[in-house]
């Protein structure tokens, strides 16, 4: 195993172990997403037909908001005891750390989605009329899109006043194309109209992922050392 991959793996394992013992991020995300589901459900009270139209938007807005909760904790954790400073002076490549954090966040958000989706289906009486298997690539690509930029911007907002507010301010405008693709793809699949297909949106999400993963990897070292 090469050194950067080893560093990524070690950091990732450490983060997962920390999360496993404290369950800080998962618990707050879960509860937050649950609240969003319940509040939306009360405010709209949709029947099965209507919920098919709006569910795509609701699900992803809930997940995006919940993801911000986890993303805000990613780097804040490393500030205690100057862990991040230690990382800066160590010869370990910055991108290894970034990838570990991004993958860790991806796992946390994916767990959240896996737990919340059944609830959504229950509350909104959802049943996909289109090819439901396509929701899987949509979810994977979309989650990565949110998480990769979120991890980057969380590192960026680390050195700002009121950083918890700063992250969504930076993240949401940039994530808009991903969010549009996610919502449209999900709605298309749920509605199952044979004349439209979610393929375009999946391709757009993949493009977004490639572009921004490259961007993050190219610029992360600069941002990490901007002290």
């Amino acid at each position: 195993m090469s050194a950067p991959a080893g560093i990524t793996l070690v950091t990732l394992t450490k983060d997962i172990r920390l999360e496993w013992r404290s369950k800080d991020a998962i618990n707050s995300m879960l509860f937050f997403a649950l609240l969003v589901v319940v509040v939306f459900s009360f405010s709209f009270d949709p029947n099965a037909e209507e919920s098919r139209l709006i569910a795509g938007g609701l699900i992803w807005v809930a997940f995006l908001f919940a993801a911000v909760v986890a993303l805000n904790q990613t780097w804040a954790r490393e500030l205690r005891n100057q862990v991040l400073d230690a990382y800066r002076v160590s010869p370990a490549p910055a991108n290894a750390l970034f990838l570990a954090k991004a993958v860790g966040n991806f796992i946390f958000v994916a767990i959240l989605e896996a737990l919340m989706t059944p609830l959504f289906i229950m509350f909104y009486k959802l049943r996909a009329l289109g090819p439901a298997w396509q929701l899987l690539p949509v979810a994977i690509l979309g989650t990565w899109a949110i998480v990769v930029n979120g991890t980057f911007f969380a590192a960026m907002s680390l050195r700002t006043r009121s950083r918890e507010i700063m992250l969504p301010l930076l993240l949401f405008p940039i994530t808009l194309p991903a969010l549009i693709s996610l919502v449209e793809a999900t709605t298309t699949i749920l509605l199952g109209d044979p004349s439209t297909s979610a393929k375009f949106w999946i391709v757009l999400l993949a493009t977004y992922d490639v572009v921004f993963t490259t961007g993050c990897l190219a610029l992360f070292e600069t941002v990490l050392h901007a002290e």
Binding site: M166, L170, P177, V223
Partner: protein
Amino acid sequence: MKKTFPILGLLTAALLSYALYEAVVVAPREQTMGDVQRIFYYHVPSAWTAFLLFFINFVASVQYLVRRNPPADKIANWVVIAIGVLTCVGGYVIKPLPQGMYPSSVATTGLAIVGIYFLIRKYFSDQETDILALTTAEVGVVFCTVVLVTGPLWARPVWGIWWTWDVRLTSTLVLWLIYVSYLVLRRFSTSGQTPVLAAALAVFGALDVPLVYFSIWFFRTQHPQPVIGGGGSIDPRMLHVLLINWLAFLCFAFLVCWSRYRLERLQRDVEETLALEALLEPRSNVR
């Protein structure tokens, strides 16, 4: 500077008033929209100016980032030259070009990109590219706000609606949001290296814009298109007035950018001098 600035200010004021006169009196009345259409001479030049300023911001940000890393600087130079060559050749080779594009206009845009990049590279130092980025972002947001305010004012009487999630409107709004978050980041940052963070964000914003445009373009063309006066030709007299207005707006934007740029430079100089003084005479400088 002391002499040029007032002269330029007077010239700009004269040009602006002439452009206003042209727009209100000289330009022919539009047949279907009537006088409301004259907002066009305010709306479109603002939009072009804002986009130009955001573009300069992007170039300055890239410059700021690549200068910290010589190999990246070299690569960036070649990428820019490649863009210039490709646009010059591509305009004549690719057939058919999208509607409204001509080989000469594509080539001119490409050359302008190369020109702006290398001008900034040659004439602006490290610190100055950052000030340039800050200035153009601030002024760009102002012009973009003008676009977003005059747009609905024009749309309401003509289309009957204030706003539609059309591709151009939405991408302009997203651009505005990105640059507002850029300014907020600069304001809220407590890091000593705010310019680096801001430059990285500007690059991300530039990566985002084509994706936004593309996603909304597809999003909306799937649904019935709202009434939009797309395509069509423009009366040469109107084009003339439009271009004069754009020139006036450009002069105005340049003037505002220049004075803001100077102010920011002076401010940084003062801060630097104060910091230096405090270092040299630690005891005499208790404030």
